[in-house]
Amino acid sequence: MIEERKEILDKYQLVVGLEVHAQLLTKSKAYAGDLNAFGSLPNSNTSPLTLGHPGTLPRVNHQVVDFAIKLGLATNCSITREMHFARKNYFYADLPKGYQITQDTTPICKAGYLDVKDANHKIKRIGITRIHIEEDAGKSIHDQDPFNTLVDLNRAGVPLLEIVSEPDIRSIEEAYNYLAEIRRLVRYLEICDGNMEEGSMRCDANVSVMLKGSKTFGNRCEVKNMNSLRNVQRAIEFEMKRQVFLIESGAPVDQQTRSFDAVQGTTFTLRGKEDAHDYRYFPEPDIQPLSLEQAVIDEVRKTMPPLPNELFSKYTEELKLSEYDAGILIESKPIALYYNELIEHTKNYKAAANWVIGEIKSYLNQSATSIEDFALRPAQIAEIIDLIDSDKISKSAASQQLFSKFVADPSSTAEQIAEKANILQESDDDWLEEIAQKAIGAYPDKAEAYRKGNKGLLGLFMGEVMKLSNRKANPKMASQILRKLLES
């Protein structure tokens, strides 16, 4: 339906702000003692409070506050010291109280930012307006009973953090990278599992377009229901084209709330501006205003793990890893932590990265093991690297033989295993020279050709040395000796 003419699209600037909801991995709900767990029997994680029964009162779960502070610190926000909660009033079947307890004028975190890569791989700073605490609604199930909607209140009251960005995002790549960074952060902080498919992390996108160079934003549409990073990209891309098309055809872009249809790859109207809810926010009178002592914030700061951005800088700047390698290492926190421990045992950072990204990750993939359950500790990988670096074993022997034998027998040392497997390299000069003599002696004509300038024949003699030595010859030394013998 949309004419995809690049030169037309290129006249317009995309403007996006994202609202991310992260479901928190707390033990209990935001304002009730009920279990916060996924997959329980419907309506089992409930109590009179979660059911919205008369006379019940909310209590703030302080783990939620700690998690919010963590995310606030990780996103460079200022933490609000004096805050109150607010009610957001609306009716829905899965909202038993008729309001959500959230924060309105005093969000717990304010004015932060995240640095992400833009479309040209340059660093782009995306402002974070606010992060506030709120609670999830229950679930309305429309497809299990032919006549009724069923309501499951297990999710009702599950704590959420809503992370609202500034409309600073200017490309689909930035949107993707911002969202991926948020997901990585909540996983590093272990406050949310970041699973968009299961809805434990959700994203709404506020999308508008304007002519490039313009200072005034166009009317924005809020797009909901995108359950993957990829779908967020698709929805924004579609929405941009839709709005450009409207403007180009002389029609206004109406401020709307729209929903993404993942099958069609399109968005459709949920409600217009005139149907927008009036949530009648007001301070929650059942919860006392909350004062955060600096000591509480400092305590939380102490529990902060290393953050992916910091690790990326360290890996690329201090350890001189490539951005590509660093990117793979920080993608998952357990991998990064493994690498961090590994480089405490070896100074060969590049080799360490190669081992983690290469042998270890493919082993984990093939055996469907997590790094936490991996048999070899970082210090043991460092043993392998040391054997290679001291020329006691070849890289290929380490990779092809030693690694799998070591995984199967992690209580031995790497050297013991290499010895048992008879793959320790020979670095004995006299012995190597003897073999090199034999190898040259086997091909007198080739030796002659080499001496006449065909240096490419060195590989032939190397192959012969390896064969005669049962692959135990130290290749570096062998080639030195061969060259010495051939050129003398």
Binding site: P54, G55, G98, D278, R280, D286, Q288
Partner: protein, 478 residues
């Protein structure tokens, strides 16, 4: 059987073997039956109360009973009691049974109080005459032509009609003190946060407090002592230590301010004014310093109160939606009609009026002019009142401008009805404790007249000591 006015009298007679607890409960049950035309009780827990009486009787004999053994209590129908119905006198909670007990209920039961039933009130505690009950109006035991006051009209009437020794009420803008004044009994609204609200069906969360209604100050003091104190289920409940309210200190001259505007108010009944003036003189002769004080903001009290309470109520009552529990209209077809039809039929007109008013004052475009402004005024009044309490120990005013009015006389004029609260809302707006004492009766109508004393926050001890002392010197009670 004689009429008991205090738990002390009951315990003394039990100790002398002149009374059994079972007989006492039976006599209350008889009184409940005899006064059924007043429509005080919504439900009587007869078997349960008798069984408990036997139980506690033997505890009394073995010396293992709790502090409230011998006390028979009625609960206002907005206080939860596990396994019992609770309806806030509304049709919308039709058939609803509470899954849990309010903290106050638990604490009373733990001290061996007997709960004899639940009593009528204005629907969701919204009213000043008990005429807004879906379960029918309550008549004043003193004069059945008159209202008992509200919203805890059933509670005050139950005590006045000797259907129980103490009743619990809730007070959002005078709902304990005004019916206590109308029925000639003692009514205490504690400091906001002194008593847990867990298990009290919310009307306006930042105003509501549970309190006792009794014949004597000493029973109210004892019940408060048992109920008060921090509760982890109500984070607005205070962690301050609970004083020994039931132990009285000796007479101590106090500095008392009387709010002059209350006595010059045009709405005030001449007899009420006279009673109050006589009391002022009497207090002076007893050695107290009594001086006029001024609260210029007095005329803003009622509007401020109604803006904020209706705002909170509109949100608090959203949960009664016909979906989860209680009444659902049979004509419901989909979610919207379930809400519309169930709430239209389930709520009474006064409740709907307040939900609409509260929804309006919180609406986009009106919030600042109403809700936000009212909160500012509330702060001004709080500051002014706190200033007064720096100088005075107590503030004195009539509890109500008039004695109990005739049934039906105010029902068509909500504004006039709202002005019933003019002297009582002050304590709820600022969160201070206040008590209404039955200090006089109207010479012509023989209707009770109540006087209200207000103390600074968490100064219940002083308020109760003073009240006890005043009631002991029965001179004002002819």
């Amino acid at each position: 059987m004689r009429t008991y006015r205090t738990l002390g009298e009951i315990r003394a007679d039990i100790d002398r073997n002149q009374l059994t607890l079972v007989d006492l409960v039976k006599s209350y049950l008889q009184n409940i039956e005899d006064t059924s035309h007043l429509n005080i009780f919504l439900e009587v827990f007869e078997d349960e109360a008798l069984a408990k009486a036997k139980d506690i009787e033997s505890k009394l004999k073995s010396g293992t009973s709790g502090r409230l053994a011998g006390m028979v209590i009625a609960l206002k129908d907005n206080i939860c009691y596990a396994g019992h119905k609770v309806s806030a006198a509304s049709n919308i909670l039709e058939g609803f049974e509470s899954l849990y007990s309010a903290t106050v209920t638990k604490r009373l039961l733990a001290e061996d109080a007997i709960i004899i039933g639940r009593v009528n009130c204005d629907e969701f505690a919204m009213g000043a005459s008990n005429e807004n009950s879906a379960k029918g109006l309550v008549k004043n035991p003193v004069n059945p032509e008159r209202v008992p006051g509200g919203s805890s009209g059933g509670s005050a009437a139950a005590v006045a009609a000797n259907c129980c020794l103490v009743a619990l009420g809730s007070d959002t803008g005078g709902s304990i003190r005004q019916p206590a004044a109308f029925c000639g009994v003692v009514g205490l609204k504690p400091t906001y946060g002194r008593v847990s609200r867990h298990g009290l069906i919310a009307f306006a969360s930042s105003f509501d407090q549970i309190g006792p209604i009794s014949q004597s100050v000493e029973d109210s003091a004892l019940v408060l002592e048992v109920m008060a104190g921090h509760d982890s289920f109500d984070t607005t409940s205070s962690k301050l230590r609970v004083d020994k309210y039931s132990e009285y200190s000796d007479f101590k001259p106090l500095k008392i301010g009387y709010i002059e505007e209350c006595l010059t108010n045009s709405a005030i009944d001449d007899e009420v004014k006279k009673t109050t003036e006589q009391l002022i003189e009497r207090l002076k002769t007893k050695g107290h310093a009594v001086e006029p004080v001024h609260i210029e903001e007095l005329k803003y009290l009622v509007p401020t109160y109604y803006v904020i309470t209706t705002a909170e109520a509109s949100s608090n009552l959203s949960r009664y939606d016909g979906i989860h529990y209680g009444y659902r209209s049979d004509a419901s077809e989909d979610i919207d009609s379930t809400y519309r039809l169930s709430r239209s039929a389930g709520f009474g007109p006064e409740v709907k009026r307040r939900i609409m008013l509260g929804t309006f004052v919180l609406s986009a475009g009106y919030y600042d002019a109403y809700y936000a402004k009212a909160q500012k005024v509330r702060r001004v009044i709080k500051n002014r009142t706190e200033q007064l309490f720096e100088e005075y120990d107590l503030l004195l005013s009539p509890t109500t401008p008039t004695p109990a009015f005739p049934i039906g006389s105010n029902t068509n004029d909500p504004i006039k009805m709202y002005l019933e609260d003019i002297f009582t809302v002050h304590a709820n707006l600022v969160g201070t404790p206040a008590i209404s004492l039955p200090l006089s009766t109207h010479p012509e109508s023989a209707l009770p007249i109540g006087v209200q004393f207000m103390a600074k926050k968490f100064d219940e001890k002083l308020l109760l000591d003073f009240s006890h002392n005043l009631m002991q010197s029965a001179a004002l009670k002819k």
